[in-house]
């Protein structure tokens, strides 16, 4: 009985902690909460998943330096799970900003790179990036995906591609 109860407890704990564990490698999250994990961290980008800003925008750099990485608070697609090239709304240093996912920890398709962290580039409402450079490689598929997502009169996401330093 006690065992069963414990199992249920840990399961509930996992559900609560799943989002905390997503970006452990970059943030080096607080050791106290991490010790409670009994399962692997969830690698999907859902609400409350932590991300890593990889451009050189002032806001992003400060947030990462303080060890308070942005959290995803909404994914702009119908599934609620962010895939590569998806737009997300993040909470960063008390503000709401939009960003584009440019690298995922999740399993990827064959020949497409899988990253060790969940990378994000901050953009404004027009789709132009807040920074001027991305300091990690980004997957080449983004070129196609972002071009497809850019509509004639909407936001122009291809500006993100212009500040990339390297493709993989």
């Amino acid at each position: 009985m006690a065992q069963l109860l414990l199992r249920n407890l840990t399961r509930a704990g996992n559900a609560a902690l799943i989002t905390k564990g997503t970006s452990s490698s970059i943030t080096g999250a607080e050791p106290g909460s991490r010790q409670l994990h009994t399962t692997q961290a969830c690698c999907e980008i859902r609400k409350l998943a932590r991300l890593r800003v990889v451009d050189n925008s002032d806001l992003g750099k400060r947030a990462m330096a303080e060890g308070r990485p942005p959290r995803c608070i909404h994914v702009y697609n119908k599934r609620g799970v962010g895939l590569i090239g998806d737009k997300v709304l993040v909470a960063i240093k008390g503000q709401m900003k939009k960003g584009i996912l440019v690298g995922l920890k999740q399993k990827q398709r064959i020949k497409q790179p899988q990253f060790d962290s969940n990378n994000l580039v901050l953009i404004d409402d027009n789709g132009s990036p807040l920074g001027t450079r991305i300091h990690v490689p980004i997957p080449t598929v983004l070129r196609t995906i972002l071009k497809e997502k850019t509509l004639a009169k909407g936001a122009d996401y291809t500006k993100v591609l212009a500040i990339a330093s390297r493709y993989v």
Partner: protein, 301 residues
């Protein structure tokens, strides 16, 4: 009469027994097949040399051996796949490599600027067999760990180069994900380091240094040889739980081993089928290489 009857029954029994073995049992049939094959060859032509399959073929071409899972076996499919694999190998050189070797894969990529992309990295895992054989490459580029999965027989792959041919102490190197980044950092413009012909593949006995916990997997449970500092980060409780899940008796479990592997007789059959083709391809490649190396000084001069 009695004796006659006995002899008759014996001979009949022998016949039946033989038939029974042929239809139902697996191992004696293979022996019988192995015994039958040389006989046939002798009959067809004594001048034709019997193909001698080198023993290292099962390490060099592991994807030619089917998955030993009984439910997934299908002799016809396996044979067809082998033919397709040979067809692909006629088009492209798929060199010998192992987990721990450093590869450069050039593949066509419709999204890339030049329509091709090249990725250099260490092979951390090889899995699956037949046409589905695949491997994972890992590298750290601009302080960012990146992994790419490639299928060996993917028609979009243009070139597979082995930059450094070596083995590591473990069968898969997933622990590089939790190791310090310098252990999986490789230069993209690395030059290929050729090995001498006929030299055994060197084993790199480098010990990797892990980051502190939390880790992606419980490495302390996996009896890894290529990790230096696991003891530094685990506590007594981890040690105890690791001991609990150990299965030291499994190395004596012959049946398990049998089910997890393709028997030697069957391996011989499979490689006897593809050996001549693979061997001629190898010779062809070697000749081409020699030609290339011979031409080089002319270019310089």
């Amino acid at each position: 009469m009695n004796i006659n009857v006995r002899i008759l029954t014996k001979s009949v029994a022998q016949q039946y027994a033989f038939k029974r073995i042929v239809t139902f049992s697996t191992k004696p049939t293979q022996q019988a097949a192995a015994a039958a094959v040389p006989q046939q060859q002798e009959v067809t032509g004594p001048t034709v040399r019997k193909p001698i399959v080198p023993a290292h073929y099962r390490f060099v071409y592991p994807e030619f051996l089917p998955d030993p899972k009984v439910e997934w076996r299908n002799a016809v499919r396996e044979k067809l796949e082998r033919l397709d694999m040979l067809d692909r190998r006629r088009q492209i050189e798929l060199p010998e490599f192992y987990v721990g070797s450093i590869l450069a894969v050039t593949s066509s990529d419709p999204h890339a600027a030049g329509k091709t992309s090249r990725f250099v990295g260490i092979c951390i895992h090889r899995e699956r067999c037949g046409l589905r054989a695949r491997f994972i490459l890992r590298n750290v580029i601009d302080h960012q760990g990146i992994e790419v999965v490639y299928e060996l027989y993917d028609p979009t792959i243009q070139k597979v180069e082995v930059l450094r041919l070596e083995k590591r102490l473990d069968d898969s190197l997933f622990y590089l994900r939790d190791a310090l980044p310098e252990f999986s950092t490789f230069d993209e413009n690395m030059e290929a380091e050729p090995l001498e012909e006929g030299a055994p593949v060197p084993i790199n006995d480098i010990k990797v240094v892990l980051r502190p916990r939390p880790w992606l997997e419980r490495w302390e449970r996996q009896n890894l040889l290529g990790v230096a500092n696991i003891e530094q980060y685990i506590k007594d409780k981890h040690r105890k739980s690791a001991e609990k899940v150990q299965k030291p008796w499994e190395k004596y479990d012959l049946m398990k081993q049998y089910r997890a592997t393709i028997p030697e007789e069957e391996q011989k059959e499979i490689f006897a089928e593809v050996h001549t083709e693979l061997h001629t391809l190898e010779l062809q490649r070697k000749r081409n290489k020699r030609k290339r190396t011979f031409v080089k000084p002319k270019h310089l001069a």
